[in-house]
């Protein structure tokens, strides 16, 4: 009986690991522009905005994709022109490593606190 339970759990988790690759968004422009801040609007993404700036930006992204540029090359190009501020998804660098790591460190720290509090036996 016990083995059967274990068996089901193992199958369940191996299915969990059947993990498909990252999304192949049909519409690359939408995907990229959702990740860009419309610099002249208040708190809108380029995707959501109908301003001239945002419309031109979307056209440009389309052009770049047609030229065969990858998503990352486009981000790189835009940050060179407009700075890191334009991208909603900050990449990991010396300015942002604390941003990404601090929550994870706190999570581990919390886990340790709980383990210390709880008696195993």
């Amino acid at each position: 009986m016990k083995k059967f339970k274990l068996f089901i759990i193992i199958i369940g988790f191996s299915l969990i690991l059947v993990n498909n690759l990252r999304a192949q968004d049909t519409d690359q422009v939408n995907k990229i522009s959702k990740n860009l801040r419309c610099l002249i609007c208040q708190g809108q993404s380029v995707y959501d905005s109908q301003s001239d700036f945002a419309i031109s930006m979307k056209t440009l992204i389309q052009k770049k994709i047609d030229e065969g540029k990858t998503e990352n090359e486009i981000y790189e190009f835009l940050t060179k022109k407009y700075g890191d501020w334009i991208i909603y998804d900050p990449e990991l660098n010396k300015n942002t490593f604390l941003l990404w790591l601090l929550p994870l460190i706190l999570f581990v720290f919390g886990g340790i606190l709980i383990i210390r509090k709880v008696s195993i036996k």
């Binding site: 199958i11 299915l15 993990n19 498909n20 708190g43 809108q44 991208i87 300015n95 941003l99 999570f107």
Partner: protein, 622 residues
Amino acid sequence: MANQVGNYSLFIALIASIFLIFQSYRLTRNSSKNLDSKIFSVLSVQSLMVLISFISLVFAFIVSDFSNKTVYNNSHTTKPLFYKISGTWGNHEGSLLLWLLVLTFFLFIFLINSKNLPKKYRLLTLTFQEVIIFGFLLFILFTSNPFINLFPIPKEGTGLNPILQDPALALHPPILYIGYVGTSIIFSASLAALVCGNVNKVWASHIKKWIIISWIFLTIGIMLGSIWAYYELGWGGFWFWDPVENVSLMPWFCLTALLHTIVVLEKRNTFKSWTIILSITTFSLSMSGTFLVRSGILNSIHTFANDPSRGVFILCFLFFLIFLAIIIFFIYQKNISNSSIRTYLISKETAMLVNNWFMMFFLSVVLIGTVYPILLEVINGSKISIGPPFYQKLILPFLIPFLLFMAIGPNLKWVKDHINKIKLEQPIFLFISILISYLFTTSYGVSYLFSVPMFGLGFFLFFLTIRDFFSGKSTLSQKIAHFGFSLFILSILFNGVLAKEYSSNMKVGDERKFMNKIIKFENLKITQELNYQSLTGEFNISDDRGNLNLKPEIRIYNQPKTLTSEADIISTIYSDNFLVFNVLKDDGYYNVRYQHKPLMIWIWLSVILIFVGGILGYFKKK
């Protein structure tokens, strides 16, 4: 006239506040058993004065008394009465007055409802709460006085920002404030309990009511704000991870953690220090929210007009309260004997701790994401944006274990349970859920990261919470709230994965094909309303199953001159059809955006279920 009345009554309230702080503190040494009747009468006077000043502001708004600067800046004679009233708290000064009103009334109710608790504890709560009231009174009177006279009296006001002229947003601030202010009572009461050393089961069951109340209002408040963003901002999303939204979410995480911990304290008389720390943190986060929104330090769609002197005041006051709390905590921590009650690995206590663990993690993600850009800019001048992808990347993977624990946890027993007793049905449910999720994701071609386990555990929680209705050991309120949460997660996941949208530039008479639907721009009507001009587009969306007529609007408000887009949404229990259009520069063409959002309404319904669970918890008999 109303200005003077409002102003002077605030000064009287300030004096009452000073009296109460000293008198109540002095009386804590007095050995008499009952509260001094003087305290009660002064407190009543104070509440009455705040009420009078609030009413006089509402009155000034209703009669459009433009000798009042706040009214002049935020109202207009052509505005409908409902928005004249809601305009009272639709601005910085008025919203603070509303905050103060709730603050004093909550204190009043607290004192009436705590008659069977020790006198010293009640007096100390009163002292702490009066310190907060005093701070707010100073803030209102000296940096954001809503009763400033204008002379000569202007004939007409400048109007309320049209995107705020909306029923959901008229109710959103007061409800959210009740939630925020509720946390102030929890804060004061926890500090008082700490000083008195009565952090115990009795105190827990008394303060639990306040926690539930604050939690319910905070939940409803966040939901209303989100509904408003969904149909008014016109982008079709319901949560943008905008800093101002995050600010209301942070105390919610903390309060949810507290809601679970307080049950442990009530039942098992343990986790005392942790409860106090959570109470302090919750209120600090509510206050930080006020600071971040009001000071203009954030860059967001929602921020009110900013004024640095206000920011400095709130910041100092906020840190004064935080430091006060920390100092009191360290001095009196020894008062709460952490009894030698052991916590076993497999037990409900641990499950609650795990809940807290995840809540604190989610909180830290949102907090760090919101505050980090401010810190970075000050420290080395570089400016970064933190948007939805950051939050999704850090929160989504952690939802998977969170959902698993949430499904299993509630069925564990207090004190000590055994792993062997986990029934066979749980792994079977898990297996079925993963299988459904796998079939669903492959057949719909969903290939987001972690989509199989996300959906799988969403279903797992869903099945287990349904099963718990028949066999679970926990309370009904917990069952409903957890079931609501599973529904919430599932509807968000399905909505996120299956939503489709289409955007195009169209003029009247145009037709566009999208999936199996035909979108037709049939007509455009121009009408003149009381305080705006309206362009109503008539669209028809047809597919093989039927016809939908959608009539989105573009409103051109006259005071102040602003364009807003009002989406038209047809909701059914299966999906929402969302259509919005915008003016383009070229004449005749409009940008039309159509969205098909499956299960959208279930997001709201599930949140309603969640707080209905809370309401049941409040009324539960002991």
